[in-house]
Amino acid sequence: MRKEIKITSVVLLVLMFSLLLSGSVLAQEEERYGGTLNAALQMSVAHLDSDNSTDSMITAMMNHVYEGLFEFDKNLKVHPYLAKSYQVSEGGLVYEVKLRENVMMHNGQTMNADDVIASFRRWLEINNGGKLVAPHFDQVEKIDQYNIRFTFKDPYAPFLNILASPVSNQKFVVRAEEVVKEFGTDIIERHVGTGPYKYEEWVPDQKLVLTRFEDYTPSSRESSFFAGERIPYLDKIVFNFIPDAQVRVSGVRTGQFQFAEEVPREQYQIFKRNENIKNEIIYPDRMSMLIFNSSEAPFDNKYARRAIAYALDFEELGYAMIGDTQFWRLESALHEEGNPWHVPDAGEGIYGVYDPEKAKQLLEQAGYNGQPLVILSGQDNQMERQGAIAIQDQLEKIGIEVELQLFDRPTVVEKRSKPDGWHMHLSPFIKVVPDPQIHQGWTGTNKWITNWDSKDSRQMDQIFAEMLREVDYEQRYKIVERMQAELWDSVPYFNILDYSRLHIRRTELKNFKSGWQPFFWNTYLE
């Protein structure tokens, strides 16, 4: 009897203790709520309608207000978001998407198929991503309140990835049907979405204010960047538009802002010494790309193009272009490690192989006559300007004469679009693309500024045509491997390295994840 009492009391004690513990956990969770976040962004926007503008800042801010059917995780793998599940059938011609039920919108109604279809039709008509899809698309049908069927005329493999695209003016977001009806294809000025924050006030050129949506319905999936659970801890988010980097920095120093976007990388060490400031190095979302003019000698010959890859010491370029090793990494593939389309052995035997002798030999093979090579580059962007200077230096060291032409951006854009007058051009590319198909825009016969027109370029066109129709991941991955191999064989352009930008935040802002676009769900103020 006494023993029993003893056991019961122990059990009781344990129970009481665990109750207390869970209570304190709950209390901690409760404490995270509240506060106003002041963020300093670098550019103002013209309006807030992401379907109507190529400004990625709009998408970045309105990601808090609108959500997609599908969203990317930190490895750019696509996950259903407002969609619950989906099914692809008939060789990639039909996508059946099941929506999450009882998702509240900012107008007090629940999201249903009508909202999605109305938004989708608008997206198809005016959004750049939609315009990519439209020629292949047949129709969208409502099966019932929560089921939709998308039908294609011919297979279009990148569909889901384009829907979730992080590239400006591509992502598909769900808006309330009433809003789409009200504004049609005009710029939307009333914002009703499903996001964790709702539109409160917009003062052009000054700020955008968002407040917590109390009835928000989070996804039950695991949170990773844009995919999965989003919890709106903050009462209010104020995006301030501050074009001058130093002003953003001082704002964070004084505590006026808790977050500042894109600050000078050179000041990293100084921020590190400040105990109120934390550096946030962004996921390396830029590539420095060296593009050849394939229509002009010597680069009308692929051996000459390959020679330049051997002639450059990429690591040294990293120090000269970007600086601190924390901000760049060597990466031969167009899609980085962890990404579903990463090809680990891309450029093997040529990428990062510094062999000036081989370079000279290849140049000779290509019939290079010693003429000065013109590097055309912008001078406003640090990577472009310093990279061009460093490439000139390296090529001159091995006896190739180089003429450097640095101009402001409009002049560069004008000059590079001409078929002659330049040999090499250094340009930043965005690394976070939704799908390998996107590369088709600048890779292939006479694509972009490459003036690449040969047997190889037509083979590349063929590879992309196959990629477009192949919906099976395994098969498609093999095509991507072939694309990468062809790219490093004929080298119409090549990526030197990946590099990052730097954001800073106050230490009181917790749980911040440095995505390619800043987002503030799941973050809280202490």
């Binding site: 040294e316 000269a320 000139q392 230096d393």
Partner: protein
């Protein structure tokens, strides 16, 4: 030489200081390859942003290039631009000024044209010309000369006008001297002082404006060192590598200050009206 005679008489302190500084700068720019072993353009990115040390007197920049070396070659470029601009403005401004001052008929047309040009700030004219012709040392020299010559022409013209009616010119003409002889022998020789003073100021201005143009990215093309472009590049590293901005900045100040002092001193020495003020 009038100048040397006067200098010996008054020992003007401005002139002494400025000439010492200028001699040092000219020495540095002339003997740059002897003074330093480093190349002003070759990169060593792994040694970037090194603070001043015995190996690198003024540290290194973002490409690991020796800042001291780049400054030496930078002064060289500044001096070249300054000298070329001075010579060009003296020739063009001189010809236009004499023609306008000596022949009243030309005067009316030419001076109105120059008035119109002087309505624009010189640097704006230089920026637009450099933008049209493209960057590069030669184009900068032309652009700056074009921007400065109206002022020079005006100064020459006014001194020609004041001299040409003086008695000795009249008597030369009465003696049957040709215009060319009168201009060369009598007028030019006697208007040398204001031209020299203006030339010195133009020299300083050209150095400053070359730096400004390079700072704006329409000047001397990288990687060739230019003091102005070095300041531009250093801006983004100002907090972490202050030596990168201080060194070329101080050099620009030294060169411009010494030339301005020299100009002031020359004016004091050579202007007969101010003769008495510098005695004490």
């Amino acid at each position: 030489m009038l100048f040397l005679k006067k200098y010996n008489k008054y020992k003007h302190p401005y002139i002494t200081t400025s000439i010492i500084i200028l001699i040092i700068l000219i020495f540095l720019s002339l003997f740059a390859p002897v003074i330093t072993d480093y190349s002003p353009v070759r990169n060593h990115p792994r040694d970037r942003l090194q603070p001043p040390s015995r190996k690198h007197l003024l540290g290194t920049d973002q490409f690991g290039r020796d800042v001291f070396t780049r400054i030496l070659y930078g002064i060289r470029a500044s001096m070249q631009v300054g000298l070329a601009v001075v010579i060009l403005t003296m020739i063009t401004g001189g010809i236009v000024g004499i023609a306008a001052g000596f022949y009243p008929r030309i005067d009316k047309v030419v001076m109105r044209f120059l008035d119109a040009m002087m309505a624009f700030p010189g640097i704006i004219i230089a920026i637009s010309l450099a933008a049209i012709w493209g960057a590069g040392k030669f184009n900068i020299i032309l652009a700056l000369s074009f921007a400065y010559f109206p002022r020079m022409a005006r100064i020459v013209r006014s001194s020609v006008i004041s001299i040409k009616d003086l008695d000795y010119v009249e008597s030369a003409r009465a003696a049957g001297a040709r215009d060319s002889r009168i201009i060369l022998k009598h007028i030019l020789k006697n208007s040398a002082s204001p031209i020299m003073v203006q030339a010195t100021f133009n020299f300083a201005l050209a150095i400053l404006d070359e730096a400004a143009l390079s700072f704006l990215g329409v000047g001397i093309m990288p990687p060739t060192p230019s003091l102005g472009a070095m300041v531009t590049d250093a801006r983004s590293y100002m907090v972490v590598a202050p030596w990168m901005i201080l060194a070329p900045g101080i050099m620009i100040i030294l060169a411009v200050l010494s030339l301005n002092l020299l100009g002031d001193g020359l004016r004091d020495l050579l202007d007969p009206h101010l003769k008495n003020t510098i005695k004490n």
